[in-house]
């Protein structure tokens, strides 16, 4: 695999730049320069927010990067998220691995048609998710109400994620890379809480309280 010293990744609020700590300062600066030049047209005109992730940079190195970039791009803000990665192999699209214990967002209220909740972790909805509403979580999705909309758990590829709802009646369910929709025909409304997970590549739904629904 041809490793890049820097990887640009567009996110909603700007661009994330991953810096591989295996490379030398010169290599990184060189790669950065090339990336920016090749994307000059892309950067032109708009204000861009940049976030640097990966290799720990000294204040001097940060200043050099800021100088280089502000020469070329109309920069909105530059952030350095200095997380020295233990694993030098950078994979910006690592599946979220906090489904046992990790970041969780709590949303109180009904998610209505046209609304989207997306989060880089687990999501708990204290309310209903109505048809046309969407929940996209990198981890698990728990709905403390009726799930009638679309839910995508493990959105960055974690097939071990689960979707749980007090009443599970989704328009479509996705877990990791598996997509499922309810069978056509009459909807059988379960009166007990259910859990959806991936088993042997298939999405299965079952009650998670053994005494219920059997």
């Amino acid at each position: 695999m041809n490793q890049d010293a820097v990887i640009f990744k567009g996110v909603r609020d700007g661009i994330r730049i991953y810096i591989d700590s295996n490379f030398s300062k010169a290599q990184i600066m060189d790669a950065l320069q090339r990336k920016i030049e090749s994307g000059r047209r892309f950067f032109q005109g708009s204000q861009t927010n940049l976030t640097f992730i990966g290799k720990k940079l000294t204040p001097d190195e940060q200043q050099v990067i800021i100088d280089l970039i502000s020469r070329e791009i109309n920069v909105g803000s530059i952030t350095f998220e200095m997380t020295e990665m233990e694993n030098s192999d950078i994979r910006p699209i690592d599946p979220f691995d906090g489904i046992e214990e990790g970041m969780t967002r709590f949303v109180r209220g009904t998610i209505r048609s046209g609304q989207l909740v997306s989060y880089e972790g687990n999501v708990v909805i204290i309310g209903d998710v109505n048809p046309g509403g969407e929940i996209v979580a990198e981890g698990n999705i728990i709905v403390m109400g009726t799930l009638r909309g679309m839910a995508h758990a493990g959105a960055t590829g974690n097939n071990g994620a689960v979707v749980v709802a007090f009443s599970l009646l989704p328009t479509q369910l996705r877990i990791g890379s598996v997509i499922a929709r309810p069978p056509e025909g009459e909807v059988v409304k379960a009166s007990y809480p259910e859990i959806a997970y991936v088993k042997d590549g298939n999405l299965v739904i079952e009650p998670y309280l053994p005494s219920k629904g059997k």
């Binding site: 009904t110 209505r112 048609s113 046209g114 609304q115 109505n130 048809p131």
Partner: protein
Amino acid sequence: MGEVIVITSGKGGVGKTTTTANIGTALALAGKRVVLVDADIGLRNLDVVMGLENRIVYDLVDVVEKVCRLKQALIRDKRFESLYLLPAAQTKDKNAVSPQQMQELCEQLKEEFDFVLIDCPAGIEQGFKNAIAGADKAAVVTVPEVSAVRDADRIIGLLSANDIDEPKLIINRLRIDMVKRGDMMDINDTLDILGIDLLGVVPDDERVVISTNRGEPAVTDDNSLAGQAYRNIAGRLMGENIPIMDMETDEGFLAKIKRFFNANRKRA
């Protein structure tokens, strides 16, 4: 100081304009000073339903562009002294007005009237944004169909994003006979999804079509069941505690007898 209520739905054809006309008339009937504002610029209808089409000289766009004074554009209803209409422009489009201008207009109208009812256009674009800009409260109209309920849900979300919380729901054109056969969503199905308070249920009534075409709101018809429902809604807006109409009255006399006998047979 009055209150501004926007009547909206998202989906077209569910009866926003008819509802606006009827609730407005019912409020005027109860002695309130009411103005109906048609925010559907380019597709004006409210004047037709009110039977005031031929009296329009100035319209809403003329008012915000200061071509005329507000008073000049207000049309007094032909039946009720305290009921006025501010018509929409027909030859312009939704972009002729900004939310800011609508807000100022609503503030002005609030000074003069007890109730300012805004008839919102279908959709969620500029026209919708204009219509809700000056509103204090909202009534969401839906019919018991999945598509209309879906759009109502979207609208409720957008309203709360614009700080109009707790809109009230009006279920229009409910057909009791179909609900009983299980062929139509019932009130509880709808409330279950939307999760907001019910302002009223208006039964499907062909008299509404007849009166709408005549330019006379159904509330003025004492025999109309829908008219009664609209009067009840108006009462609730005025703070009265009126229970939701018992739809059983919709049944004919014969059906009642049949039901009576059926019930007896089951018991036997």
